[in-house]
């Protein structure tokens, strides 16, 4: 048989594995959140089945936390669903950012990849999509990150639900720092020109100033400010040339 494979690209299995492997800091960083979610959900009045079902079907950490705190406070169903919508709105930005990369894929790919699109997977995968090589298997990398993050989230939700409050202090260990380190390591090398630096600074300032706003609205405002400042500086520099 003729072997016409292009040796310079990793094959799909390597991409799948690398996607899972590169998500490792995110797995470490999100495990405490899933564990705490599992333990807290019981005290908010959610049944064990519903707790697991929420991680299984909603799969969006911050909105799951907000949902159980609203439940514990006696909020109604409509309030929780609307809040979930607002809190998760930032995912539309991720969806738009990835569209050029997934546009050529069949729906049977796009539907699960959309379902599994989280902050963590977005961070890891946009780094891969941004890499210079033209590998045709980058969606396998995306899938690898998704599968690792999803199974991790389910397992730790289950453990949290089962153990209840048996593992005290896990939230005090600072494992979430793995996420901060990863996001920092991804952002810093991209800060190569003035518009990018200004976009990051604007986003940071607005995020800090608006951090008291409810439902992660501050995050949306910060993203918007960063994008606008970046675009504005970019067009000014274009004009100066």
């Amino acid at each position: 048989m003729l072997n016409l494979s292009i040796p310079s690209y990793p094959d799909y299995r390597t991409e799948l594995w690398h996607g899972a492997r590169d998500s490792l800091p995110m797995l470490v960083g999100s495990a405490p959140f899933a564990l705490i979610f599992g333990t807290l959900a019981a005290s908010s009045g959610l049944s064990a089945m519903a707790t697991l079902a929420m991680s299984l079907f909603v799969y969006a950490g911050s909105s799951q936390f907000i949902a159980i705190s609203l439940l514990a406070g006696g909020a109604g169903l409509a309030v929780i669903v609307v809040t979930t919508f607002v809190v998760n709105l930032r995912h539309a930005l991720y969806s738009a950012t990835f569209l050029p990369y997934v546009a050529g894929l069949a729906q049977r790919w796009r539907i699960p990849l959309a379902f599994w699109l989280t902050d963590e997977t977005f961070a890891v995968v946009q780094h891969r999509y941004g890499a210079a090589d033209a590998s045709p298997h980058k969606h396998w990398y995306y899938l690898g990150s998704c599968l690792a993050m999803y199974s991790n989230w389910l397992i730790w939700t289950l453990v949290g639900g089962l153990l209840g409050h048996a593992v005290p202090g896990l939230d005090q260990m600072g494992l979430e720092f793995a996420m901060a380190a990863t996001f920092t390591g991804i952002v810093v090398p991209v800060l190569k020109n003035r518009p990018m630096v200004a976009a990051a600074l604007a986003a940071a300032v607005v995020a800090l100033a608006a951090r008291e706003l409810p439902y992660k609205l501050g995050l949306m405002l910060a993203a918007l400010a960063g994008v606008l400042v970046g675009l504005w500086l970019e067009s000014r520099e274009e004009g100066a040339k």
């Binding site: 079902a53 079907f57 996420m179 952002v187």
Partner: protein, 108 residues
């Protein structure tokens, strides 16, 4: 699982999926104008910075912690320096985490 729980989870799952799927659904039917394409290039930097900076400067979510005894800040600065100098993500994460845990242990 009660009916209320079922409705709650179904509602949350549907809105979350529709947001995530919103642009993916369009596929190659949509072509962003050049301005939108340029704008989207700033999204990762803006969002990730907006998530990280408050986490690092206010580790408890409420109080500013702007001094060298802030293990979050020390760790993130080291991650940033390694990433900037060596362009190697895993070293940046590993180095930052090492400094973070050592600092927490020393400062405890």
């Amino acid at each position: 699982m009660s009916n209320d729980e079922l409705l709650l989870i179904a509602g949350m799952a549907i809105v979350t999926f529709l947001i995530r799927y919103s642009f993916f659904a369009l596929g190659d039917k949509v072509h962003f104008p050049p301005l939108v394409k340029r704008a989207l290039r700033y999204v990762p930097v803006a969002v990730l910075t907006a998530i990280t900076v408050p986490m690092v400067l206010l580790p408890d979510g409420q109080h500013w912690h702007l001094d060298w005894r802030n293990a979050w800040l020390l760790g993130a600065v080291v991650s940033g320096l390694i990433a900037w100098r060596y362009q190697h993500l895993l070293s940046a994460i590993g180095g930052g985490m090492a400094v973070f845990f050592i600092a927490r242990w020393l400062l405890a």
